[in-house]
Symmetry: C2
Subunit: 249 residues, 2 copies
């Protein structure tokens, strides 16, 4: 049985660095915490390197570590690795994986342009998964996929579907070459979403919480859409807007 | 010019207590922070008791305190009152206000049953405002409206629309007496939302993040709805689900 007691242990020091984006990029690894997420990682064959369990935690009877060997850690080490207020004491260290998507074969995509809030990004990935989208593409400047809050908000959907990163200007050009319609979202010079008959294959672009989708992207899109405001709110939360569009178009 | 320098000042001590639900309930006051929210409070005639500005902050030229006198506070006091990481240094202390809604005159309502996350509650209030709903009713056990995270997530919509609190069992009975249809949300024994033709006057009930809407409420509703999951996510975030339903029905 593998066991780590000290927060001075070199592996613990290395894993703790996965709490920062810089640390993750360097190690090409990330950490997930909690039973639900770890189970989703196992079920979906994520490239798990280590499965860690705090010594004071009893594994629930319905939890199966699959073919992975558990490393037991002390309560102190668990506290060091946790990014939540009340930890469940279970962690997986996972290697980055890079997915490819053949744009010739997809029909529905969500493109995220510089959305800052990790909760918004994670929730949009979860909604895209629920809505049966083929992939999500995170544009440059969008909050990091492997941030602990992003991962938590995906509720495991990051293990179900392809999530790519790229320059959205290039992505949009490629999509258009493949005959995929691109719909931007904007409050100006846009059509109400419920007056648009969507194509069979399309991508939606949602943008930054404050400034919206970049105007460069809006000028490349086939059509720009908005969600009408019937009351006195100035705007919708970007995650809500994305959810309404993904379920309506 | 009114000015407060010390965190030992009795008013400061009293205002700080507004960071907890208990303190707010006792004083029947709450605190809002940041230019956007304070402006919305002023514009919408919220019962503001004090308007506080940190000494090192320059008022933006487009900001008008209306008829309110500013109280200047030291940076130290501002830090004591702030609940954000980077404060904008402006605060309003506001009295609780109780709104009444004549159910005979409303046509669209959102009922929130035991939703725990303040961000979810605030975002749903913002979406209900955007969708032109008449009121939001927070059931017993729902996260506090005056929690700073809830207030921030409303983006000011709490000043635009009636937000009531009550026992949802009683509320649903009253609504039905008024001829308002009540739609619960549930993953079991429910119809897909897009197959339902909504009445002219209706209320939607959304429920707790983990256990959903209470079964007592589901058995009282006229119809229970669900949002189909086309992919592999187990469920939608409650705020997203509420947004899709409010914009679709």
């Amino acid at each position: 049985m593998k066991r780590i007691d000290s927060i001075q242990n070199n592996s613990v020091k290395a894993w703790k660095k996965l709490h920062t984006k810089k640390g993750r990029e360097k190690a090409k690894q990330y950490i997930v915490e909690g039973f639900h997420l770890v189970e989703e990682a196992i079920k979906n064959d994520a490239p798990i390197l280590h499965l860690l369990l705090s010594e004071e935690i009893d594994l629930p009877s319905n939890f199966s570590p699959g073919s992975f060997e558990l490393t037991y850690i002390s309560k102190e080490v668990s506290k060091e690795l946790s990014e939540t207020e009340t930890t469940q004491g279970i962690y997986a260290i996972i290697e980055f994986s890079y997915m490819r998507v053949d744009f010739a074969k997809v029909s529905k995509l969500l493109l995220i342009d510089e959305v800052q809030d990790p909760g918004n990004v994670g929730t949009m990935i979860r909604t895209a998964d629920a809505a049966g989208y083929d992939a999500v593409i995170l544009g440059t400047g969008t909050s990091d996929l492997y941030n602990s809050k992003t991962i938590r908000s995906t509720q495991g959907s990051l293990f179900h579907m392809p999530i790519l990163r790229g320059d959205l200007i290039e992505v949009v050009s490629e999509l258009k070459e493949q005959g995929i319609s691109v719909y931007g979202t904007s409050l100006q010079n846009a059509k109400p979403f419920n007056e648009v008959k969507a194509s069979n294959r399309f991508a939606i672009i949602v943008g930054n919480e404050g400034k919206g989708v970049n105007s460069n992207l809006l000028s490349l899109s086939d059509e720009n859409l908005y969600i009408p405001i019937y009351g006195r709110a100035e705007s919708l939360n970007v995650g809500i807007a994305a959810g309404i569009l993904m379920y309506s178009l």
